[in-house]
Amino acid sequence: MMEQPLLSVRHLSIGLSRQGTQLPVLNDVSFDVAPGEVLGVVGESGAGKSVAGAAIIDLLVPPLRRTAGEIALRGDRLDLMSPRQMHRVRGKRVGFIFQDPMTSLNPVLSIGKQLKDTMRTHLRLGSSELHGRALDWVTRVGLPNPERILKAAPHELSGGQRQRIVIALALCAEPEIVIADEPTTALDVSVQAQMLDLMRLLHKETGTAMVLITHDLGVVAKMADRVAVFYAGRLIEIASTRALFQSPRHPYTAGLIGATPAPDGQGGMQVVAIPGAMPGVDALPPGCAFHPRCPRAQADCRTVVPPLVVLGTGEAACLHPLPERTAA
């Protein structure tokens, strides 16, 4: 179905050590990203989507720790790499876009310095070439007056401008894949759309694959080719974007879509709430973690952890999935 995946994550588990015990923050998660593909990763806060992204290039901050799993980039096992080898992967082969443009740039160094340092680390370029490329990148991310921007310190730029620089920093060494962790969450609606537009443009230009982590279903609906849904540390559904929105198979996915305020087709608005709240990693129920909130839960859901199985064109981890809705 898919050619050789660009990124392949298999059985990834992440633990949080607290007072001698390991709490499962992420549990046995597997997914692939094809070359040039945009994979959306959605879930509510605490679902494990951000740590999954950080784990790919070994950016977990203790007490978080990868406890199991294989991560391969074009067949190269990232999980087996030494720190030195990892440095050559970060930035060069895997780019990373951070959430908050206000805190993710170094406040005391100029934009130019940060951009050139990153390129110098990965690309063999002379200083004039470096400067030219830096100017080029500033222009490519849509900022006017690139010479001035390179000399500027981060605080002299607006939030939107900074996020453009963050994107340039993530892409400037021409990585094969970019992991974007909530890239638009800290931005206002009007600027968010600009940023998505820019990311889409650069994605078309470079062909870089992307893992787009977000809690905003609207963002994945517009950007992703396929979507993975996380709940309480597990991947519970993965499918093409169109299939997922038109016919969600996992009751949680359906619930999430229903809970997002949207026009109901008759000129009104409505939301359907999911009762209860997502359990914390220290209070996971036995069986399916969603069963206490699930309208379709039955006795077996309380005891059996549902595996991810192929359902139609996608996969879902549910013992009693919703029937497939045929597209209108």
Binding site: G160, D188, V191, M223, F245, M269, V271, A273, I274
Partner: protein, 320 residues
């Protein structure tokens, strides 16, 4: 006597702008930040007025001015009928509850302050309120730290209801919450609204939320009210370019039409707003007139628009 309505009359709020001793010596006055500029509207009894806008548009400042937490630098707030009891629900579920107080004391504070119930009945009323917002009366003995963000917002709502408010201000009450929890709180608020008939002001940056919650909606940009109309009118037939662009900018859940509609440019520095119309720097329909004259607020059929021109579906497709 009951509260008949709330009139916000030409309210302005400027932060800073006072010269220090040294600056006075040199005859300089620093620019103030004009967070709210000459905003007027009315809320009638039992109505929910929504205010929507992006960060920095002054909506939260305005909420605090109306709530009496900030003194306006110009204009005033008039309450028709009685001197009303106000209550407010805030955005941050953590800072809005005093962590050193027990939940039942937090909820009882407005009851005790206004002596709304005899002493012996306070505990019973608190238990009733806890149930009304979907918590258990046994939760009263806990401290706020024991609750999640969504539960804390329920406590905040219970506290607000405890004050039996004539007028309720909701300042981004669901913005800090996850989608599934946000939906619970929105439904709770809608339910309370229809049962208690509260007069309220609902502030949010989320257009879908305001459409769900409000009877009428005001749109703010850079401290000004640029459009005010019924929720249906605002969303189906926006008259101000900013309203139109803002509605389109938020990505919907349609995976087939994937067009993005960004608003060009960025919010200008609120301490130095553009000349003329404050939206002209980002407006695709801006004309020379827009830079020269600030557009007046125009009234037409229960709607107010601050724009020189009529925005028609035609002008949308073919920018002038």
């Amino acid at each position: 006597m009951k509260l008949e309505g709330v009139d916000v009359k030409a309210v302005s709020k400027t932060f800073g702008g006072k010269a220090g001793a040294f600056e006075r010596l040199l005859g300089r006055t620093p620019r103030g930040l004009r967070a709210v500029r000459d905003v007027s509207f009315s809320i009638s009894r039992g109505e929910v007025l929504g205010l929507v806008g992006e960060s920095g548009c002054g909506k939260s400042t305005l909420a605090r001015v109306i709530g009496g937490l900030l003194e306006p630098t110009g204009g005033d707030i008039a309450f028709r009928g009685v001197k009303p009891r106000l209550q407010m629900v805030f955005q941050d579920p953590f800072s809005s509850l005093n962590g050193r107080w027990r939940v039942d004391d937090i909820i009882a504070e407005p009851i005790r302050t206004h002596r709304l119930r005899p002493k012996g009945e306070v505990a019973g009323r608190v238990a009733e309120l806890l149930e009304q917002v979907g918590l258990s009366p046994a939760d009263g003995v806990k401290y706020p730290q024991a609750f999640s963000g969504g539960q804390r917002q329920r406590i905040s709502i219970a506290r607000a209801l405890a004050g039996e408010p004539d007028f309720l201000i909701l300042d981004e009450p669901t913005s800090a919450l996850d989608v599934s929890v946000q939906a619970q709180i929105l439904n709770l608020l809608r339910d309370l609204q229809s049962r208690l008939g509260l007069t309220s002001l609902f502030i949010t940056h989320n257009l879908s939320v305001v459409r769900l919650m409000a009877d009428r909606v005001g749109v703010m940009y850079l401290g000004e009210l640029v459009e005010l109309a019924s929720a249906d009118d605002i969303f189906t037939n926006p008259k101000h370019p900013y309203t139109r662009l803002l509605i389109d900018a938020a990505p919907d859940l349609d995976p087939i039409d994937r067009t993005l509609h960004p608003i060009p440019g960025e919010l200008p520095d609120p301490s130095r707003p553009p000349s003329g119309c404050s939206f002209r720097t980002r407006c695709p329909y801006a004309q020379p007139l827009c830079a020269e004259t600030p557009p007046p607020l125009r009234w037409e059929a229960a709607r107010e628009v601050r724009c020189h021109f009529d925005l028609t579906p035609k002008s949308l497709s073919v920018p002038a």
